[in-house]
């Protein structure tokens, strides 16, 4: 008989145990690991994600704006936007300070756009790692 109990299962970690590390890790790449007393790994994540993001900006990459239309357009633009957004404060500061650049043709700009999304996606991996550490699934 299906249960209508809305409580999480007993083996599910409480939100309070992982949310600060994951939230901080989204805002500042690697900060979740610093919070969890893994400074070496946090520093490597911070250096990698920030370097990748800054290289993307210096290559004049563009940030994705969410657009819908056919399936492929939706996947590319909404997915790209989520990837950009995953860089946290780097993305927010870029927009607030006006460093967001228009999309122009050229292989360097194209690489720049991919670097910006790639930095966000690497931060997603780091956030998942922080979640696993915070919830005790991993050392």
């Amino acid at each position: 008989m299906p249960s209508n109990d809305s409580n999480p299962p007993a083996d599910m970690p409480s939100t309070r145990s992982w949310f600060p590390a994951v939230g901080l890790g989204w805002l500042v790449p690697g900060a979740g690991h610093f919070l969890l007393k893994r400074p070496g790994r946090g520093a490597l994540i911070l250096a990698s994600v920030v370097s990748m993001f800054l290289l993307g900006l210096m290559m004049r990459g563009a940030m994705f704006q969410p657009q819908t239309g056919d399936l492929l357009t939706t996947i590319i633009y909404v997915g790209g936007f989520v990837g950009d957004l995953a860089s946290g404060l780097l993305y927010l500061l870029t927009n607030w300070l006006g460093y967001n650049q228009p999309d122009v043709a050229g292989h360097v700009h194209d690489y720049g756009t991919k670097f910006l999304v790639g930095a966000g996606l690497l931060n997603v991996l780091a956030m998942v790692d922080a979640y696993e550490i915070a919830s005790g699934k991993k050392d």
Partner: protein
């Protein structure tokens, strides 16, 4: 913001480097395993880069 122009190869190598560092950091359980995994990922990235480069070279005739 300073501007930067990189070749395909330079950009792809930098992408591989940063991705390998993060993949190495988040996957394994000990530092030596992480280092080995990161280096292996970087090696695979470079192999794929060179392989695909040659494939495109021959594909374009």
């Amino acid at each position: 913001m300073p501007k930067m122009n990189l070749s395909h190869f330079e950009a792809a190598i930098l992408f591989a480097l940063f991705s390998s560092i993060v993949l190495g950091v988040i996957t394994k359980r000990t530092d030596s395993e992480r280092l080995r995994y990161g280096l292996r990922c970087f090696g695979y990235f470079v192999l794929a880069l060179i392989g695909l480069g040659w494939l495109m070279h021959f594909g374009h005739g």
